[in-house]
């Protein structure tokens, strides 16, 4: 495989971007990742983005967002209707062909104009599940309940994940939910939203975007003092039907992590894309995360969960820690679909 690294990244997440268009959101982020390494769009060989028309409320919404990049003269470009982590995967594949040495990846989502928990029901089987309009919190709660009933976690375990996220998120300007002194008892004292999940068990819904610049080989070394090398990346999916799956497991997450090399060798850091504390615990188990791993140092997606960008944000967060010299090897995870149906694992390493 060709050496490919993250050489710069930019993140912006807030509670609601009520008066900001997608273009206005993305211009500073796209500029930031190019400026950070001193290149212009002319030096970018491939561009790939991820977003959702359902969030934008507009068909072909990504066409307009291209204005944030400046596709004049024309560029080699693609788009996935997926989290930006999957756009990064497509860009990584493009760099593997040797037809590109640099790639700009970005993604964004504004879910605040609608009710996210209801909108996500449109992802479900439209014939036998969708018409019941089960909301995303209720589905997350089903998974948490199965986990508790199987004796694989206690309510205290769930609360401890929430506490870790909120404490880690202190000082992260892109986190919505943080607290230096929150305790397990504080979380357990919250009223349940969807039994057994409490507000702190559910990811904090944010609007925002993320941009990442990739470069191959010596080009990466020339652009960045300490590139975050992608030494493994893989993604897998499970069937969606909840009744066909053991919801205490996420086989596609385990498989992706194994194929990305995350299950062998030391990990200093892991950033998880979980919509609930219960999902975070499922992922801990699938990835075999031990005590030595700093999990969700940014607070993870529980602290700020931007639909279509939260997975790419995880990659950016791990890459930053590697480029800063705070970690040598880390796992970034992205997911999509109900109950961790689809999962991507990306292992990043410093040189």
């Amino acid at each position: 495989m060709r050496e490919v690294a993250v050489v710069s990244s930019a993140i912006h997440q807030v509670e609601a971007l009520t008066f900001t268009t997608d273009v206005q959101l993305m211009i500073p982020l796209v500029n930031a990742v190019r400026d950070a390494v001193g290149i212009t769009q002319d030096d970018v060989d491939f561009t790939c983005s991820g977003s959702s028309d359902f969030l934008a409320g507009q068909a072909f919404s990504f066409v307009h967002t291209l204005d944030a990049v400046g596709a004049v003269p024309p560029i080699s470009e693609s788009h996935v209707e997926m989290d930006g982590a999957f756009a990064l995967y497509e860009a990584w594949v493009k760099l593997q062909t040797g037809e590109a040495d640099t790639a700009l990846v970005y993604s964004y989502g504004k879910s605040s104009p609608g009710s996210r928990r209801d909108v996500l029901a449109a992802q479900l089987d439209p014939y036998v599940v969708g018409p019941l309009w089960p909301d995303a919190h209720s589905i997350a709660a089903l998974q948490a309940r199965v986990l508790l009933d199987a004796g694989l976690a206690t309510p205290e375990d769930l609360a401890a994940v929430a506490v870790r996220s909120q404490r880690n998120a202190v000082g992260n300007p892109n986190a919505l939910r943080s607290s230096a002194d929150v305790t397990v008892d504080d979380v357990l004292a919250e009223a349940v939203v969807a039994d057994p999940l409490r507000p702190s068990d559910l990811s904090a819904e944010s609007d925002g975007g993320c941009a990442v610049l990739l470069a191959a080989g010596d080009r990466a070394r020339s652009l960045c003092d300490r590139p975050a090398w992608i030494t493994g990346i893989d993604h897998r999916i499970d069937p969606q039907a909840l009744g066909l799956r053991d919801l205490t497991r996420a086989p596609s997450a385990a498989l992706a992590a194994e194929r990305a090399g995350a299950t062998t060798g030391r990990l200093d850091v892991a950033e998880l894309h979980a919509a609930s504390t219960a999902q975070a615990l499922v992922l801990h188990r699938e990835f075999g995360l031990g005590d030595g791993v700093d999990v969700d140092p940014s607070g993870g997606s529980l602290a700020a969960d931007t639909l279509m960008a939260a997975g790419l944000v995880r990659i950016a967060e791990v890459a930053r820690r590697i480029s800063a010299g705070d970690a040598d090897r880390g796992l970034a995870h992205a997911s999509s679909g109900p109950c961790l149906q689809q999962n991507l694992a990306c292992v990043l390493e410093g040189e």
């Binding site: 080699s76 693609s78 594949v93 062909t97 040797g98 992802q123 439209p126 969606q240 689809q342």
Partner: protein, 389 residues
């Protein structure tokens, strides 16, 4: 920079019948029908497939958000990777190109790629015209958007008024030879095409594409898979994608620079210097009739302002033309939007495999597949050949 890529072959093609309404199947049933036919054509099973790349146009067309999630098991994806591409109208072509990049990069050995649309589930003009808080909608649909650009072409080139009707009549005649085509207008006359109601002047009802349900799939493989195939395969000789902004000073909307750049790139990869002489069959994205002469010029098959002459003298007809265009009937005869680009790519592959049936171009060795989308901003193209590049 420079391709280090694995040679890529089209091992199999599968299409559903294109119809106004495929009420007999679910969305899952529709995509599975095309996928199974592609697997059969490639003499593969689900177990041979390493990954799936699926594409479709806006999710509002069915009212399903990221439908690839619930389609994963219908497409045999349990435990496998699936990517969902969306690049406006060019998506079917772009999807095939992402799948090809998975082979070229040697990440995978066999990839199933599929485009679909089930337009009968919703209303495309509604889906394309949702009101937006920060902009004024022209509520014109695609025809209203493109008609002024066609007018510009007519004024610039001096093309006679009925060139568009000639394209529409030709493509509908071609469609009679394609059993999968949506429109089979056996008794259609040229006069009927001309006399059809004007929808968006100068685009008549007869010069616009239908709304279709349907899916198209291909199995792509690496060099070893192509060599091992007992059936004829199509080798990929070049692939290119380009995008440009919708609005900027000096933009040539009739022949966008992204279109010209994309064509120059793909022909250079294929070693083609004279596209008209070296390409035997063209499957081009023509949702409105006039786009045939416009793209002939933009892609380099005709000189500037001369593309309409190729229509007028029958050069693009399957019956005696030297550059048959849209032998399948094209988008004008079948338009499941998310699949329409992939159908172009797949039909090009069928031509060089010699498997195009009644609409086969005799002895086709190299064929060109093309798709575009957005406000003529997104382009995806490939050249395929009977010989290994």
């Amino acid at each position: 920079m420079g391709s280090l890529g694995e040679r890529t072959a089209v091992l199999g093609v599968g299409q559903t019948e294109y119809r106004a309404t495929r009420g007999d199947v679910s969305v899952a049933g529709l995509v599975r029908e095309a996928a199974l036919r592609a697997l059969a054509d490639a003499e593969c099973t689900w177990a041979d497939i390493d990954a799936v790349v699926i594409g479709k146009a806006p999710d509002f067309f069915e009212g399903l958000m990221m439908p690839e999630l619930f389609l994963a098991d219908a497409l045999g994806c349990a435990g496998k990777p699936i990517l969902r591409v969306h690049t406006a109208g060019s998506v079917g072509g772009s999807t095939a190109l992402v799948a090809a990049s998975l082979i070229r990069s040697r990440v995978h050995r066999r990839v199933l790629t599929l485009g679909f649309e089930k337009q009968s589930e919703s209303n495309a003009t509604w889906a394309l015209s949702l009101p937006q808080p920060f902009s004024v909608s022209i509520n014109a649909g695609a025809g209203g958007y493109f008609s002024p650009i066609i007018r510009q072409y007519m004024a610039r080139s001096g093309a006679p008024e009925l060139i568009g009707c000639m394209v529409a009549y030709k493509d509908r005649r071609h469609a009679l030879r394609n059993p999968y085509a949506h429109l089979h207008q056996h008794d259609l006359t040229f006069d009927q095409v001309v006399e059809a109601p004007m929808l968006w002047d100068p685009i008549r009802f007869s010069e616009t594409c239908p709304s279709s349900d349907g899916a198209c799939a291909m199995v792509l493989g690496d060099e070893a898979a192509g060599d091992a195939s007992d059936r004829p395969v199509a080798w990929v000789h070049g692939t290119a994608m380009r995008s440009e902004g919708n609005n900027f000073p000096g933009r040539d909307e009739v022949s966008p620079q992204a279109s010209r750049d994309c064509a120059a790139d793909v022909f250079a990869q294929a070693g083609i210097t004279n596209p008209r002489a070296e390409i035997d069959a063209v499957e081009m994205y023509v949702p409105f009739s006039w786009y045939e002469p416009m793209w002939l010029e933009s892609l380099g098959f005709a000189e500037l302002d001369q593309g309409w002459r190729m229509v007028e003298d029958g050069s693009t007809s399957l019956d005696g033309g030297d550059l048959p265009v849209n032998c399948s009937g094209g988008v004008l005869s079948s338009n499941p939007i998310g699949a329409s680009g992939m159908i172009r790519f797949a039909e090009a592959a069928l031509q060089v495999r010699g498997l195009a049936g009644d609409h086969q171009v005799d002895g086709a060795r190299r064929a060109f597949g093309h798709a575009y989308g957005g406000g003529a901003q997104y382009f995806a193209m490939w050249v395929v050949g009977a010989e290994k590049p």
